[in-house]
Symmetry: C2
Subunit: 250 residues, 2 copies
DNA sequence: TTCCGCAATATGTCTAGGCATATTATGATT
DNA sequence: AATCATAATATGCCTAGACATATTGCGGAA
């Protein structure tokens, strides 16, 4: 099974395979092979512990991982049962474009196109989710790969949450990077959509008008406070979001 | 298509909050609040166990969860250190369209537009990742919401992996559903892109030519075997993929 | 100075047992 | 027969201790 999941275990395991992992794999195999169909009830932890010759907690770990994968449901007293085949719900990973370009050896640059500080307009307040009049920093910038336009970025930063941004020029450093290095965020929401390039977008990205573009919007929170809203626009030919199902080994 | 993290714990917790969860939250708070900046080394498991008044394993559970979240890195002897602010890489959940429409009370229907069995052409072989001449089932269908075209689906099914599909007509049942109910898959890969509607797409989706559309491609494996390749095309106005960063409580 | 081996350390994982809690089955009561 | 209290059961979570293993730092030898 190919699993180039960026999901390399968070811990570089070098030694032997843990027993709980072996058990997890063995049980998982029974399920995905269909030997244990949906609704089938697994043996109890005690029985499995006896069968595998290990402590109950080791079994519990394996079963807990299966439950986290939604392969099984566990209920007290009712036991552990196999779920319906995996729901059509996937975990995707979106990678950082800048990092990816650099990793691929492609020269990357950020260029600021506009920078304005203002009190939040009704529209700003709506997109950024702050109250009217809150000071915000509005940025427009261009990401370049090998010198050519790669993506257009429109960003709003809540200056109440990030006062340091007021004095930063963002001439050549991308605001995303800058923020990441300073503000740990706790939650984010993404929207992915498609849009036809308008005149501005077409000009900056050097594409024809009406070319289909991928638009990714991201809202970022730090606890309850809104940090930033960003919309990044990629021309369709240039970029695809490649995402992989995340294989979680345990 | 809002989907606030379906991330409810896979196990309905009703009782008290587990100690390991409390500890996880406490440590997480230290990190996201910035009190422990990137590079900071956490106290050892022994020290934390003493500080929190619990067994080392309970601490290990909490730290393990932090590591899985990539908030910290753990290395033997070197200890546990806080990572750089979260890399710009996110985990998205894409939910099943059909299920979501139904959940929202919107009538859903699938309509088959084309169905052909053939030996894999060079192009089929490339997209589906099978060898030339392998029998494949090629399907085109339309997803309707409230009777109106919602998405166009182009699918290839590997008949060596799913021989039962040969006799299925797919008149009104969406192949995605059908497959999910039969074939548990073990891995999937997605690509999300944008494209301008060509004449065919425009006709089926009842949109103007060149309208920007969101295209989602998915490849599905069962262990090493390729099951199916599907491309679903949504008109830009109709649909956005909304995804929320997945909060995994532990 | 440089290199190598050894000891100290922190994590990775497991065991055996225990209490808590949710749920089901059972039996007693009306 | 229907209802309700109680016991049995399976999981959820924890403890205390143990051994294994990777990594680091240090001291001695070349």
């Amino acid at each position: 099974m190919t699993m180039k999941g960026g999901a390399a275990s968070s811990l570089a395991r070098t030694g032997t395979v843990p027993r709980s992992r072996e058990i997890y794999d063995a049980l998982r195999q029974k399920i995905v092979s269909g030997e244990w169909p949906a609704g089938h009830r697994l043996p109890s932890e005690h029985e499995l512990a006896r069968a595998f010759g290990c402590a109950r907690m080791t079994i519990g770990k394996a079963l807990g991982a299966l439950a986290e994968q939604r392969l099984v449901t566990r209920r007290r007293r009712a036991g552990t049962t196999v779920n319906m085949p995996r729901p059509q719900e996937s975990v995707l990973e979106i990678h950082d474009i800048e990092a990816e370009l650099l990793a691929a050896g492609i020269p990357y640059a950020y260029e600021s196109l506009a920078r304005r500080i203002r009190r939040a307009t009704a529209r700003d307040a709506g997109t950024l989710g702050v109250s009217l009049g809150t000071p915000v920093l509005a940025l427009t910038g261009l990401h370049r790969a090998s010198g050519r336009p790669h993506a257009l970025e429109e960003r709003l930063i809540n200056l109440r949450a990030v006062p340091e941004a007021r004095t930063e020029r963002f001439r050549a450093i991308s605001p995303g990077r800058w923020l990441l290095q300073r503000i740990p965020w706790t939650e984010a929401e993404h929207q992915i959509g498609a849009l036809n390039a308008d005149a501005d977008i077409a000009r900056w990205l050097a594409i024809r008008r009406d070319t289909a573009c991928l638009a990714i919007e991201r809202n970022t929170w730090r606890d309850a406070q809104r940090i930033t809203h960003v919309r990044v626009i990629y021309p369709c030919g240039e970029h695809r979001l490649v995402a992989r199902f995340r294989y979680r080994p345990l």
